[in-house]
Symmetry: C2
Subunit: 303 residues, 2 copies
């Protein structure tokens, strides 16, 4: 039990964030990804290759990949639910891909219209195709601390799906509190249950801030040794289950906390705040990051 | 090192909160205090007896005290910086009083126009007068994790002032992160330094959420045994040092976390959310509580 010296931030704003916001022009997305790279983010989930019928906000992901600067030492990743999406991601030049499973049977049925077991079967060819190209695959597990449809989710179910994704070949499994209802002890117990199946260095926390708990949950899990945190600049992305509520925990707030704890991220907080403020010019709200709001206010640029 | 089984919430919304908001009609203040009492809050800082020249929002504190229901088992407290304020608080019927010191010399000079040592001298007659009436006195220490004027504040300075207030007769010392810049390890170190001088059961955390860190800091300190948390319903109160930024941590968010951790507060969260939503009808913003925003959205009453 020791705090990590360094934490890798997986920036999901351009994908998980913007897919739950008003549509943003492709130029603004490109500028955002570029600004994030310059601010020191080393892993940027840049887009998704999913049905534009379901997620119109991501329909221009190929254009985003085509337009961005490819800074050295950065990974530009894409979400790809199936082989068709994977091939589009490869064509667009994604460095690696991610797949998206659930720990809740009810959520899997409602969200991707199949059972958890069936979803894993669908991922197998994506993982095989990625491995054939030496591309890494990241696995998401949603609803690890609660489900909007079934309520509680058993820790055993979370650990089971995480282990499956790991065994199938995902190099990292990201544990998502999709509806942001987790609290510190629950988060610790969940991480402990999963870490019994998947090595801690291959786990990431992906916590939403819907109930304001994300940073407390992250702080409570860091002493367990987890060293990869998913977050979205400006807290991009709302909550489809509570309109107007917060979505992803804000990268600015996570970075402020980590730096305050003496944990290195390699990120320039001022540049990060600016990147978030800029993309919010295209949205119907300002940054959902307390750090950004406070910093911009101090600079007299109240968002 | 064990989590408390119960936490006492000190609700500071009607005072520390509303003194940093637009003026609210006295009827709305009375309704707020009553609603908080019915929601299960047992300690409500109801008003302040300070110069109306400096804090016009608190000018009607006598009327608030005169108008509220006095529920059994509740403490209705008032801030009283000096003997004149104390006597007004007694006349109004306050159950107990609070005094307000600083751990930062620069803040003390700018905020109350005297040195820390001089401020302690001014408190002595207030404490003596309260003791003569068997009234308890609570002591605040501001700037325990940082100062808007001098920046860093030495932990020794925090511990020194806290110990002085304790020795002078305050039954509880509330440790305020006035500008909300603290992070978890800093908060733990500060609490540890103070607890070496004042018994933990006589300490309270009073953390602001300006940089989004308050709940993470509270979560990090709870395993040290601290069992009193100051907070404000709806996150009332902004930050005078960053216009538009968050102030006090929201009671709703604290209670959601504590209940999720199996820690009892005696508070009904639904009634608390409603109390916050109601008072925000009189302000120029909705609740600054993620729990309130999410819950109201789920009820289709987007704030």
């Amino acid at each position: 039990m020791a705090l990590p010296k360094q934490v890798k931030i997986v920036e999901v704003g351009p994908r998980d964030g913007l897919q739950n916001e008003l549509a943003v022009p492709v130029e603004a997305k490109i500028a955002l990804v570029n600004a994030l790279g310059h601010a020191g983010l080393t892993y940027i989930e840049t887009g998704a290759f999913v049905s534009p019928k379901w997620v119109p906000q991501m329909a221009d992901s190929s254009d985003v990949f085509a337009g961005i600067e490819r800074l050295a030492g950065r990974t530009y990743a894409a979400l790809t639910p199936n082989l068709k999406g994977f091939e589009a991601a490869v064509a667009a030049g994604a460095d690696e891909v991610a797949i998206f499973g659930a720990a809740s049977e009810a959520f899997s049925q409602k969200n991707i219209n199949c059972s958890i077991a069936e979803s894993l079967e669908r991922f197998a060819p994506v993982i095989a195709a990625a491995q054939a190209r030496n591309m890494r695959v990241r696995g998401y597990v949603s609803c690890v601390l609660g489900c909007p449809y079934q309520g509680e989710v058993a820790l055993d179910d979370v650990a089971w799906v995480a282990e499956k994704l790991w065994q199938m070949g995902c190099y990292e499994v990201s544990l998502g509190d999709t509806i942001g209802v987790g609290t510190p002890l629950h988060a610790q117990r969940m991480l402990s249950a999963v870490a019994a199946k998947v090595p801690m260095e291959h786990l990431a926390l992906h916590f939403h801030n819907t109930y304001g708990q994300a940073l407390a949950n992250i702080a409570s899990c860091l002493p367990m040794g987890v060293a990869t945190i998913d977050s979205a600049v400006a807290g991009l992305g709302g909550c489809p289950y509570a309109k107007g509520a917060s979505g992803n925990v804000a990268t600015e707030d996570v970075v402020f906390m980590l730096h305050g704890m003496g944990i290195d991220t390699g990120i320039n907080l001022n540049q990060l705040v600016q990147a978030g403020a800029d993309v919010c010019q295209h949205l119907n709200h300002g940054p959902r990051s307390n750090v950004a709001i406070a910093e911009l206010a101090k600079q007299d640029r109240t968002p």
